[in-house]
Amino acid sequence: MKKNPKTLKLILFSIAGIALLIFPLLAKNSYQVHILNLVGIYMMLSLGLNIAMGYAGQMNLAMGALWAVGAYTAGLLNQRLGLSLWLTLPCAIVAGGLVGGFVGLPALKVRAHYLSIVTIGLNEVINIILVNETKLTGGVDGISKIAKPALFGFKINTEQRYYYLILIAVIATFLISRQILSGRVGRNFRAIRDDYKTAPAMGVNAGFYKLLAFIISGCFAGAAGALYAHLNAYISPDIFEHKTTLFIMTLTMVGGLGNLNGSLIGSFILPVLQEYLRAIQDWQYVVYGLAIMVVVLFVPGGLMQVFTLLKPYVTMLTSRFNKLKSGTTVGEDSNVS
């Protein structure tokens, strides 16, 4: 029987799916699950950034702050009004989207380097507000004792249980991203990224789509923020500083800008790598920095580019393999490529 690529894909997907489902049962301790939970949250942030920066070409260097907006919205609503995750989550998405749109407003006037310093500045401004508006935000102490959610009386109060919640959220975010990018909106994003000057001549309202890209990344960051707040039960401004923004950017780019799978891969590899590198203490960041430089200098398209580069070889190998199995010799089909 001949295997076609579709069935192969299906099999791979099922294996990956089962692995994802049973991971918490196999994990050595809940810390490992915790790391994976964080990976999931980074995936959501990275998908948001990828849409803004990878697809729409907008330098959104305020993801850390937008994440904070979601986390603080959820944290405060829970602490002050006792709302559960199911209510704080939509509020956080809306808040993230609104602030995201606000952060994106300067994009109507400035671009590239200028936009990056402006968004870095806004990230700082939001962080300073979190530190100093002590009455509202708790200042440097942040907000603690944020309640874990429950579903129909079933308490989602362990890392393992939360894992499934995040898994669902990541899948949903991924599918929504793919849906958004598959049609008109995705094409318009890429049009303003490829050539922001000519896109308007094709009827694309460049300003609107710039803002939309910022709003979407804000919504994703908002959702990630709410999930993080309820997972960690504790949030403080230092979690969402400029360096967090750079970290989110780094994982997105190491994975591959303009490729949603890249976001997933980058968000997985870098935090996990960081865990392993802990053993070498201070050297970890040096290795980390070197890894970034290597990616930028040699595979500027990120790890997804490595896969694309390898793809022809894989296809060649599998086709040879199939041919060998079905009895024909390799030489015969060398003219069909």
């Binding site: 958004i180 008109r184 000519t198 001549a201 094709m202």
Partner: protein
């Protein structure tokens, strides 16, 4: 009047690129705009298509004053254009390039295409079908799934025209569409222009290839140093002494 330019002026610092130019373009015609290098042709196109705000003067299209509208609004009003130097979207296939132009006509709500897979698919299918017809018109269907910028120059020019037509314009501004084409390709272009005009679209053509201009245009406006120096039909322009003088010593011959 279909399209009227009234006392259009464009200054860049001290340079007057377009100086008090007025003329009109008739519906259903091919109107030529010629002039030596740097005489302000592209600048006029940039004003018409909303890229530059005229320093002074008015652009009236179908009775509406469209001066200073942003480019995407001008496109929605019925203008389409190509660019003198090829400007195709570099990450997109030919098909996608053409489909971008259809977005502004879409009837489906934005949120619906963002979150409803069925509606999005339907829209994509509709766009694809329409785009394929345009690719047929320009005889580039076989390249539909190729990266647009990877194609030969002449083909890219066709993709640009297809992309402009996909906005469903009333008037099409072509900025030197024959630049870089060989003779065969230029002849094919002339045929394409005729087909487009026959479908009811007015064409406003900037071109240095005089054979193409003289062969296709109903009406020609000639500018030099930003000023209008002549207008009329081909014969009238060809024999105008000021036109001959403007082109004297330059490679283009009439």
């Amino acid at each position: 009047m279909f399209l009227e330019l009234e006392h259009l002026t464009m200054k860049f610092g001290g340079l007057v690129a377009v100086d008090d130019i007025s003329f009109s373009v008739n519906k259903g015609e091919i109107h030529g705009l010629i002039g030596p290098n740097g005489s302000g042709k592209t600048t006029i196109f940039n004003m018409l298509s909303g890229y530059y705000k005229p320093t002074s003067g008015k652009i009236v299209f179908e009775g509406k004053n469209i001066t200073g509208l942003p480019a995407h609004k001008v496109t929605q009003a019925g203008f389409a254009r190509t660019f003198q130097n090829l400007r195709l979207f570099k990450s997109m296939t030919v098909l996608e390039n053409v489909m971008v132009s259809m977005g502004h006509l879409a009837k489906t709500q934005l949120l619906n295409v963002m979150f409803n897979p069925i509606a999005a698919q339907k829209e994509n299918d509709l766009f694809t079908e329409k785009a394929m017809k345009l690719l047929d018109l320009l005889d580039i269907r076989q390249y539909a799934h190729n990266l647009a910028v990877s194609l030969p120059y002449g083909t890219q020019r066709r993709v640009e025209i297809a992309r402009a037509l996909a906005t469903e314009p009333k008037i099409l501004l072509l900025d030197e569409p024959a630049a870089g084409l060989n003779e065969v390709e230029t002849n094919e272009l002339a045929e394409i222009l005729t087909t487009i005009r026959q479908s009811g679209i007015t064409i406003f053509l900037v071109e240095h290839d005089m054979k193409l201009v003289m062969g296709s245009c109903h009406e020609i406006t000639v500018i030099d140093y930003g000023k209008k120096i002549a207008e009329g039909d081909c014969d009238c322009v060809r024999s105008d002494p000021r036109v001959i003088e403007a082109y004297l010593g330059k490679e283009e011959d009439l």
